[in-house]
């Protein structure tokens, strides 16, 4: 009883303090949020809402829009010109995600073995350069490298492989893989640096334990390194997948979707539909479907990384 009273009297001033302190931060908090929320609302949420609205109409951008219901969405899933774009970005994921993550792991592991700090920092700087070069400039440079008289063909001729030289970006079978390789080049450095930093954070004692248990280099990699890098890999996969699914810059600069729609991707198709075909409703529907696909692809990756939980 006495204890209870004591606690009561003791906590009274504390209660008043904490109550007042609890209210003021939350008001201030809203004030800090409003500028960023407004920008987000105007430039992200509002256009998304408008796009959802446009997707239910048939509209040329100037005249009166006509109600189209679900017709645009049906077209996205039945018109081969539109469904093929979704297939193309699925192929691009192989290049944009699998190569940078896979090769990045290998490169990061190699860089970990190298003891000289100068070598590793120079290597990291060189690998991250493609991220700093503007994508448009990189695309133009690569279209020269891959042209019929470009560096790639010159090297192939020099080593006696003249018969496989071609205009890589103009050939129906090699155009999409070529675009994919350009994307892999851009994203490799990002993944390598991310993974290499992640590797640096791994507790050395885990490696010692593995060695004590008799694990070789490869076993060590799969048993210790890879599981510890789960979060970094998830980030890499997320970023590269979004890059692949929403690809526009690289395709626009190098092939504009050609030859013959072999490299047409949804991002470029939305642009064409909206501004050249003047079919704003169909473009909006395709854009929405793409957004949903991106979310559906990213969610499992995010949940996988969250499951790693108590680290």
């Amino acid at each position: 009883m006495i204890q209870a009273v004591n606690t009561a009297t003791d906590s009274a001033p504390r209660r008043a303090l904490t109550t007042r302190a609890r209210h003021r931060p939350s008001h201030l908090g809203w004030l800090f949020l409003i500028p960023a929320l407004s920008v987000y609302g105007i430039f992200v949420l509002w256009p998304i809402l408008q796009t959802i609205r446009y997707s239910f109409y048939s509209w040329d951008g100037v005249d009166k829009p006509q109600w189209a219901g679900l017709r645009n969405f049906r077209a996205v899933f039945t018109d081969p010109q539109l469904t093929s774009t979704l297939v193309h970005v699925a192929e691009l994921i192989l290049f944009f995600t699998v190569i940078p993550v896979g090769l990045g792991l290998v490169l990061a592991a190699i860089m970990q073995r190298v003891t000289s700090r100068r070598v590793t920092s120079v290597a990291r700087a060189v690998l991250i350069l493609p991220q700093i070069v503007p994508l448009v400039a990189a695309g133009i440079a690569w279209s020269w490298v891959l042209s019929s008289s470009g560096v790639v063909n010159q090297v192939l001729q020099a080593i006696g492989l003249r018969h496989i030289t071609r205009a890589w970006l103009g050939d129906f079978t090699t155009a999409l893989p070529s675009v994919g390789l350009i994307g892999a080049w851009v994203l490799l450095g990002l993944c390598t640096v991310l993974l290499s930093v992640g590797m640096g954070k791994i507790d050395a004692s885990l490696y010692e334990a593995a060695v004590l248990d008799g694990a070789g280099r490869i076993r060590e990699f799969f048993a210790v390194t890879l599981p510890s890098l789960r979060n970094e890999i998830a980030v890499c996969v997320t970023v590269t997948m979004i890059s692949a699914l929403s690809a526009f810059d690289i395709v626009y600069i190098t092939t504009q979707g050609g030859p013959g729609n072999a490299t047409m991707v949804p991002g470029l198709k939305v642009y064409q539909l909206a501004f050249f075909n003047r079919q704003v409703g169909l473009a909006s529907a395709l854009a929405l479907v793409l957004m949903v696909i991106v979310i559906l692809c990213i969610m499992p990756v995010q949940s996988l990384s969250r499951r790693s939980g108590d680290e």
Binding site: T18, S58, G61, D171, G260
Partner: protein, 478 residues
């Protein structure tokens, strides 16, 4: 009351916070939406009175002749808004010359590539400060949306009936936008281009070409000789979003069939089709050229600029292009380049070529429409303006046929202008098949000729697919 000051943040409270934040964000977005003015959809398009403006009719009544500069542009300083295409220095030179002759008129010039112009046209023309003159892509959609000023009153005021009617036919259409070829006048051409075959004189001499071929068969022989000599017979662009093989294809179509049928299809006359037996012959002939290796092997990766670069470096004997390059080629390869019109099927048949106006129009709500129309007339009739058009642009300035076309003898420009006279006499000018609808070039023609080049499409397939896309686009009002 015991207060637990050490308690953890209630996770349920965290969720509520998140919900509150999202709610505020959405509310903000919707409030701003509600406050902002409605979208373009809700505002009605501006109507375009087709009658003559009061000042116009009074000036005609008063002077009895075409409006003078004071009447059209006024005496106070005027700044004209111009939205033009990159790569046409002749247009910029014309505007500067106009200011020299009429100092009260200055120009605010914005330049963009053709693809960007196409994309921006509807938005710019319906915007708050529309251009007084603007380079226009495909017209039908813009006319349909009431975005262009009807030029019929100016046609009457300035007496443009003295211009050959074929020059302006491509710019005429009813307010619905199609079929083209007749109806009100919606734009003018600052000059008139012509297509044909450029050839490298040195390389042509090497394969024994002494004079331009007179028949298609003679041309085929020359191409075979070039291939046998290890040269690239034809260097042509066909990459990216631009299927340049359409140039030789349309020339072949005009060889095998009548130009009227092709123009009917381009102008969207009801019942017109591109899938005809004579056009099929043309596509098959093109396929023969492709299979014989007459084109540069990387055509599907060659864009227009690269094609010009290759030709200028002597990497091709022939090139299908237009006289807009005559001025450039005269400067970069003086005396080394010749030009001939595509030879007909049989000797004595008519020559045909694609010829299109460099289309410029006036926005429906432009502030200085009268002055813009005066500029159009001035470009076609003023001697100094015509000289710039020819010397810098290398193209035919159009206008009344009795006015002289000032040109230096022996230049490439002289050759292309002489060829233009032949086409005008034979009345076989065609619009470009790429212009049939707003999207047919990017959507159908380009992928199809790219596939044809790679052996992935049959000649029949090309025509069938293009016709199907054409019918679908007309139905949806492109």
């Amino acid at each position: 009351m015991i207060v637990d000051t050490n308690r953890e943040v209630n996770p349920r409270r965290g969720w509520r916070r998140a919900g509150q934040v999202t709610g505020v964000a959405l509310a903000l977005a919707l409030t701003i939406a509600g406050c902002s003015s409605g979208t373009k959809a809700s505002s009605s398009p501006s109507t375009n009175p087709p009658t003559t403006s009061p000042s116009q009719s009074s000036s005609i009544a008063a002077s009895g002749g075409p409006p003078t500069e004071e009447q059209a542009c006024g005496t106070k300083p005027v700044t004209m808004q111009a939205y033009v295409e990159t790569g046409f220095p002749d247009v910029i030179d014309l505007m500067h010359l106009f200011t020299k002759q009429y100092p009260n008129v200055t120009w605010n010039i914005r330049q963009d590539q053709f693809a960007v112009l196409t994309q921006n046209a509807p938005l710019v023309l319906s915007g708050p400060n529309p251009p007084d003159i603007m380079r226009l892509p495909q017209l039908s959609g813009l006319v349909h949306d009431h975005l262009l000023k009807n030029l019929d009153s100016y046609y009457d005021a300035y007496g443009w009936s003295s211009f050959p009617s074929a020059q302006l036919a491509q710019l005429r259409m009813p307010p619905s936008g199609h079929p083209r070829g007749s109806g009100s006048l919606w734009a003018m051409g600052l000059n008139y281009s012509l297509t044909g075959v450029f050839y490298n004189k040195t390389l042509a001499a090497n394969i024994g070409m002494t004079s331009p071929p007179k028949t298609l068969a003679e041309f085929d022989t020359l191409l075979a000789k070039a291939k046998a000599a290890g040269l690239t017979p034809i260097v042509q662009f066909n990459g990216g979003a631009t299927g340049g093989l359409l140039f030789p294809l349309q020339q072949l179509m005009a060889d095998y069939g009548p130009t009227d049928a092709i123009n009917d299809w381009i102008f969207q006359k009801p019942g017109a089709t591109i899938d005809t037996p004579s056009n099929l012959e043309a596509v098959k002939h093109l396929k023969q050229w492709i299979d014989n290796g007459y084109f540069n092997s990387d055509a599907n990766a060659t864009d227009y600029a690269k094609m010009m670069s290759k030709f200028e470096h002597g990497e091709g004997v022939f090139m299908f292009d237009g006289d807009w390059e005559s001025g450039n080629l005269d400067k970069l390869m003086p005396g080394q380049v010749g030009f001939f019109l595509m030879p007909p099927l049989k000797e004595g048949d008519k020559y045909a070529a694609m010829s299109a106006p460099l289309t410029y129009g006036i926005a429906a709500t432009a502030k200085h429409a009268d002055c813009a129309a005066f500029f159009f007339n001035w470009v076609a009739t003023n001697p100094d303006a015509r000289q710039i058009n020819v010397e810098v642009g290398g193209s035919n300035p159009g206008g009344p046929p009795n006015l002289p076309i000032p040109v230096k003898e022996g230049t490439l420009v002289a050759q292309t202008l002489a060829a233009g006279k032949i086409i005008a006499q034979e009345n076989t000018a065609m619009d470009f098949i790429a212009n049939a609808t707003g999207a047919i070039y990017a959507q159908a023609w380009t992928p199809e000729v790219q596939k044809l080049f790679a052996g992935q499409e049959s000649p029949e397939g090309v025509l069938q697919k293009v016709q199907a896309a054409y019918e679908q686009e007309i139905k949806s009002g492109a």
